[in-house]
C-alpha cells in the first residue's frame, strides 16, 4: 500500500516537471546586416545593453512547458515566432535569460537541411537519423517504416538531388518524425507537399501527441492550431503578450488583427 503511494507521488512529480523552461529569454539582432563590424562587436558580452543599430527580436519571454503539452505560437509576421522556435530547438542561443530544454528535440525546421545532395536516399536516412542520436540498429529496425511513410520505395538508391522537391520533403519529414524525441517542433513546413501527404503528416503528428509527445507549433492557420494545440502563446513585438488556452489566444489575435 505504502509502495503504491510512493509510485503515485513519483509519477505526479514526473508529470509536473517541465520539459521546457524559458526564463527571461531575450535575443537581439543587427538591424542592418551590412553595417560595419568591429572586433569589439564580435566579442561583446551577452548582457551588454543594446546598441542603436540593434533590436531585440525577443525580450523577457518566460514560460514553461510540461510533458505532453501541445503549444501553438501565434502572432503576425516578424513578432518573433520563428526565433522562439529556434531558441527552443537549440539552433540559436539567447543573449540573456535561460532556455532550458531537458529532453531531445525533433525539429521540423528546414527539414531537408541535413540531407546531402550527392548521397543516396538510403545513406541520407542513416546520416540524418544518426545525427539526431539514433543508433544504426534503431535505424535498421525503422528503415522500412521511414521509407514506407514517405512512399518513395523505388528511389532508395537515387542520389538525393535527383528527387522531386515533394519527395525530398516527404523523406525528410518521415525521418524526423521517426526520431522518438520527446519534443516535436513544427515550423509551418507542412505548407509544402500535396494535400493527401499533408493530411498524412497531420495524422502522424496527432499519433505522436497521443503517445505523449510535447508539441511546439508555429502556424498562421487557425484550423491547424485548434486541431493540435491546447495552449497558445501570443507574441507581440518580441514579448509574450498572452499565455492562455488556444481558443482565448486566437480570440484575442482575431480581435486585434482579425479579418
Amino acid at each position: 500500500m505504502a509502495e503504491t503511494t510512493t509510485t503515485d507521488a513519483v509519477a505526479t512529480s514526473r508529470a509536473e516537471r517541465a520539459v521546457i523552461d524559458v526564463a527571461g529569454a531575450g535575443i537581439r539582432f543587427k538591424r542592418n546586416r551590412r553595417s560595419r563590424r568591429s572586433f569589439k562587436d564580435l566579442f561583446s558580452t551577452r548582457t551588454r545593453r543594446s546598441r542603436p543599430d540593434e533590436f531585440w527580436a525577443l525580450r523577457d519571454v518566460s514560460f514553461s512547458v510540461r510533458p505532453g503539452e501541445a503549444i501553438g505560437v501565434v502572432g503576425r509576421n516578424g513578432q518573433g515566432k520563428s526565433t522562439l522556435l529556434k531558441l527552443v530547438a537549440g539552433v540559436i542561443l539567447p543573449d540573456e535569460g535561460v532556455v532550458d530544454v531537458r529532453e531531445g528535440v525533433a525539429p521540423l525546421i528546414e527539414i531537408t537541411g541535413g540531407f546531402v545532395d550527392d548521397l543516396s536516399v538510403r545513406e541520407n536516412v542513416y546520416l540524418t537519423a544518426g545525427l539526431h542520436g539514433m543508433t544504426k540498429r534503431q535505424i535498421d529496425e525503422r528503415f522500412d517504416d521511414i521509407v514506407g511513410f514517405a512512399d518513395i520505395g523505388n528511389f532508395l538508391d537515387t542520389p538525393y538531388k535527383h528527387l522531386s522537391s515533394g519527395m525530398k520533403v516527404r523523406i525528410a519529414f518521415s525521418v524526423i518524425t521517426q526520431l522518438d524525441e520527446p519534443i516535436l517542433i513544427v515550423d509551418e513546413v507542412l505548407a509544402v507537399g500535396d494535400k493527401a501527404f499533408r493530411e498524412k503528416c497531420y495524422r502522424r503528428i496527432e499519433e505522436m501527441l497521443a503517445a505523449g509527445r510535447t508539441l511546439f507549433f508555429v502556424s498562421h492557420n487557425e484550423k491547424d492550431l485548434r486541431r493540435f494545440c491546447k495552449r497558445g502563446l501570443y507574441l507581440e513585438g518580441g514579448a509574450l503578450a498572452l499565455d492562455a488556452d488556444i481558443a482565448t489566444v486566437l480570440e484575442r489575435y482575431n480581435s486585434e488583427y482579425g479579418v
Binding site: F29, F43, A89, V91, G104, L131, H132, G212
Partner: protein, 285 residues
Amino acid sequence: MRDERVQGRRWRAPYDGSVTTYADVRPTQRTPFARYRHSLWLLTKRDLHVRYATNALGYVWSILDPLLMAAIYYLVFVGIFHRGGTGEQPYIVFLLSGLLPWTWFNGAVLDFTRAFSREAKLIRSTAIPRTIWINRIVLSKGIEFVFSLPVLALFAIFAGAHLNWTVLYWPVAMLIQAVMLVGLGLIIAPVVVFFKDLERAVRLILRLLFYASAIVFQIGDVPSSFQGIVALNPLVGLFGLYRSAFFPHELSWKLVLISVVGSLIFLAVGVLVFRRTIRTVLKEM
C-alpha cells in the same frame, strides 16, 4: 562548451517517463560524450564518403597534391640546382615526410574558413554541439593523412631510407598537430563568418608559412640571423619530430617544446574566442 551546458539543451539526463510509448527505445540513449563522438564520426565518414564516392580518382586525389609538390621540389633542387648531394639523404623522403603532414595542416586550415558557411543549412536546423564543425575537419583531414602514409613507406623503401626507432614518436606528433589544428580552427572558423576578407588572407598566410616551416629545406640551412624567428614557428619542431623517423638529426626537443607550448596556446585562445563568438555566429547562419 560552458555556454551550452548553461543552456541545458538536449544533453541532459535521459528521459525517464514511464507512461509514454517511446520509453522502450530511450534506454539506448547515449551519454553526451558518446553522442558527440557518434555525430563527429558520422560527419567525418560523410566527408570521406562524399569525397571518395563522387570522384573516380577519390584516393588518388588526396595524395596527388603532396606527390606533385614533392616532384616539383625534387626536380628544382636535385635536377636543376644539383643540391641533391648535400643535406639529408634521400631528399625525396625528406621532402615527403614534411609535405604529407603539411598537406594535413594546409587542407584543414583552408577548410576552417568555410567550416560554418558550408554547413549553414544543417546548423540552422539541427542542434549539434558546435565544436563538431571544427573537429570533424581536423579528423577527416587527419584520416586522409594516415591513408597517405603508405606512399611515404613506398618511397622510403625504394629510395633506401633507414627507418629509425623514433618513428614511435609519430602518434605524439599527430596529437600535437591535432591539438594545434583544433585551436586554430576554433579561432579561424567563427572569425571568418564576420570578416570574409580573412578567407583570402588565410590563403596568403598559408603560402608564406609553407616556406617558413622548413619543409623543403633543413632548419640548419637557414642563415643564423633568421634561425631564431623560424624556430618560433611551432610547425618547425613538429615536422622535425615526424622527420626523425628517417633522419634522427632533425629531432630537436627544444623545437618540439615550442610546438607543444604553441599548440596549447592556440587551443586556449581558440576555446576563449569560440565561446565568446558562437552566439553571434549562429545568428548569422
